[in-house]
Subunit: 467 residues, 2 copies
């Protein structure tokens, strides 16, 4: 057994003493800190480059020391919460190595924040479409490790759709590149897609080549209020069939509207809703359209309004572009607004086939009621991916237990509807064991065989993404 | 050792005697038959459903019998050419199980042809964008196994981008579903992407859930003739930076134009080119634009013409929509037109970073010259994915040997330019061993570990996709 002191000094001898320190509290938690999740670790390594990551991994692999890879620490399933061993922090791998606007691509290190990449890309007139929450703090490496989604995943795909190639450290400490700036490559198995979304359990992604595209020249936002989840479900179908072709379709149910509806950045909206008959169970949808011409895109917006009125919308709005950016900020704050109601929340990111969304929302509400909890849901309606949320006072352990029981029921519901326990956050430490309920045993066995093949000692982020 | 007679009768007892037959010649070849590639097999199984595939796989796995999975037989790297054992033909798994236009998705069996799927989807007002060559005969299962590309992969992504979930048979004969109609799922490793493009070496895909989208309401084709590969390279950069945002950018070099240029379905084009000074080394680019409005899309076409004129185009055209479909057919026949010149050709689908395309084209021509062969190249310029082709008389073994030597040099060139030996056809049997030249040893080791983990007996399509 290696003591902490010898671990720090031996590891420091390999990667540089200045690159190893004893963990600080913030390095033992992630986006789950609100619910009191905190881990332990013996040391934190902060390599300054990819070879430093490889050196750290090799030392840990040689010495049977577990590793937890840390990005921006914004994850919502405990993926970055260590359980002993060494934390490998990617924060110093923060370079945009290349940015080629002429060829719609860039090469970025894992520790670049999502917002920084988006800003750099915007400055050269292009766009990196993935837009997960917490972009200001989340790292591209974390986006890759979890295959992060976001509102525009509906039209533009999740993170994986934008990855051309990876640089990564595989066991027992080998720095490899898989692909690169080439846009098409079928020579080998798709190890890129295998590493993306593997939550650091198969290796450590140190950099990626990403695809970029030009931004749309016109955008139009459309908002609709529906009297029920069933009417909203008709509204989603209407959005897909009316010819407007949205790139995102987002939803807030009545519970989320209770906390966030009054601050919707559309003048007068909340008071107008108040005058509508029977606001109980109201659901808000909002969709983004992208196009070439302002007039044509606005015309598609009108088509969407017609479709939503036909689906039963009681209120609609087609705001000016300035509102769209305010709405994006409002959208990003929904989670906080809902959490503020009781101080604590358990929010799970299940996804179902889009035509089962109303059943999911009704079922999640019934689950909350059965456990005596308040409920809210919001999320990526076009992708059938909801943040179903159970509220509680964080000082009330009994209600936290009930929220966990409710989440368990929710996972069962999502699976029974043909869906998944996680649409975008990943399994992390908190959803360990649920894949087995979702997949056939032989598929689970294949999953485990791949883990064993690429991480035979089980040292990469142990306890995460285990079936 | 099992004799052929006992193999046929034992296998027939498991999957039904009517579903097993002795191989016919056409079942021992694929799209490489022109170069005389033909395999051997002891029996062909034609299961009528997915469980029948599982039963056949289980019998083969139990009896250590190698399997070759056969789709439409249009592959260009020998992937469907058996080397003994049993051929599992997917032709009877030809049902479109579900087609949900309202939710932009379908579930299709592996034996449905690409063209049939495209037709069915078109009939309900939607679109399945992947457009690999040989769509009339190729199966969706083959498209999935090779992660097929095509011209519109530039704007819409390769086959993998359209797969929501898979039904597949894993060793030793387990029928599993991974994902389904749900659009986002990060619960497990991305086994879907791992199976897609694995060329049947990790299991047998029996069905897939695919994403669909509405078709564009407007399209515009733009064609430009350039005096050299360097000017064409500038033209590609111009297409990416002029704001026109094409969904495909295709190229024919001087060699391909020699065989196919005269039949370009634009009235007068060939005679107009003849009047241009110095046609040596001319290169044709053509791009598709998609948009909401005919006028706006045409305006983007004009912007592209301007960009191409600035890049040195000596001739341009913006044909009517009727021409676009004729051009699609003409495009599909380029391969045959080039092959007809000498009767035989070796065509390899290397891909490089798009900014290295001119170097690839010049280098491939120099390789042809060094081996005393005629040369032609065409393909997906926007993706840097070329079909570099060496022509020969198929009765001349010495020239066939030289073509193979030229292909070997070409692979080395593509890798030295940061590219891949295969952009869309796969390794099959003919490119066995080349991945090792392209990937780091540790990445190759991971590739082999995955194969061993999922196919421990090495019975799924042995000899394909081996590093």
């Amino acid at each position: 057994m290696t003591t902490v002191t010898t671990l720090v000094s031996e590891l420091g001898a390999v990667v540089g003493a200045a690159n190893v320190h004893l963990p600080e509290l913030g390095e033992l938690e992630d986006g789950t800190r609100w619910s009191g999740v905190r881990g332990t670790a013996d040391a934190v390594v902060r390599p300054s480059d990819a070879q430093g990551v490889a050196d750290a991994v090799r030392w840990c692999y040689d010495h049977d020391v577990a590793m937890t890879v840390r990005g921006g620490g914004t994850g919502l399933s405990g993926g970055a919460v260590p359980d002993g061993g060494v934390v490998i922090s990617m924060e110093r791998l923060n370079k945009v190595r290349t940015l080629d606007p002429e060829w719609w691509r860039c090469e970025v290190e894992a520790g670049v924040t999502t917002a920084e990449l988006q800003r750099r890309v915007r400055e050269v007139g292009l766009r990196y479409p993935p837009d997960p929450g917490s972009a200001a703090s989340s790292h591209i490496g974390g986006n890759l490790a979890t295959n992060a989604g976001g509102p525009h995943a509906f039209g533009h795909g999740v993170t994986r759709a934008w990855v051309l190639g990876l640089e990564a450290v595989l066991a027992p400490g080998e720095l490899v590149t898989i692909g690169g700036p080439t846009r098409k490559d079928v020579a080998g198995y798709d190890l890129t897609s295998l590493l993306v979304g593997s939550e650091g359990t198969l290796g450590v992604i140190t950099a990626a080549w990403l695809r970029l595209i030009p931004p749309p020249t016109a955008e139009q936002l459309v908002i609709g209020l529906f009297p029920s989840v069933d009417a909203a479900q008709d509204g989603i179908a209407g959005a897909l069939t009316c010819g407007a072709v949205p790139v995102s379709v987002e939803l807030l149910d009545g519970g989320a509207l209770q906390d966030a509806g009054a601050t919707l950045p559309v003048p007068g909206a909340a008071s107008e809703w108040a005058s509508l008959p029977d606001p109980t169970g109201a659901v808000l949808l909002f969709a983004n359209l992208e196009g070439d011409l302002v007039e044509a895109t606005a015309a598609r917006g009108d088509a969407l309004v017609d479709a939503w009125r036909e689906a039963g919308a009681t209120w609609t709005a087609v705001p000016e572009p300035a509102t769209a950016s305010a709405l994006g900020e409002w959208r990003a704050n929904i989670s906080g607004a809902v959490a503020a109601r009781r101080g604590g929340k358990l929010s799970e990111d299940v996804a179902v086939p889009t035509d089962r969304l109303a059943e999911l929302l009704r079922g999640s509400e019934a689950i909350a009621a059965a456990h005596g909890l308040e409920h809210a849901a919001w999320g990526h309606a076009g992708d059938g991916n909801m943040h179903c949320t159970y509220l509680f006072d964080p000082t009330d352990q009994a209600r936290l237990d009930r929220a966990n029981a409710a989440a368990d029921d929710l996972f069962g519901l999502a699976i029974s509807l043909g869906g998944t326990v996680s649409g975008e956050h990943g399994l992390g430490r908190l959803k360990t064991g649920y894949l087995r309920a979702q997949w056939d045993p032989a598929a689970v066995a294949a999953h485990e065989a791949i883990k064993a093949a690429l991480d035979p000692k089980g040292l990469f982020n142990p306890g995460r993404k285990t079936p």
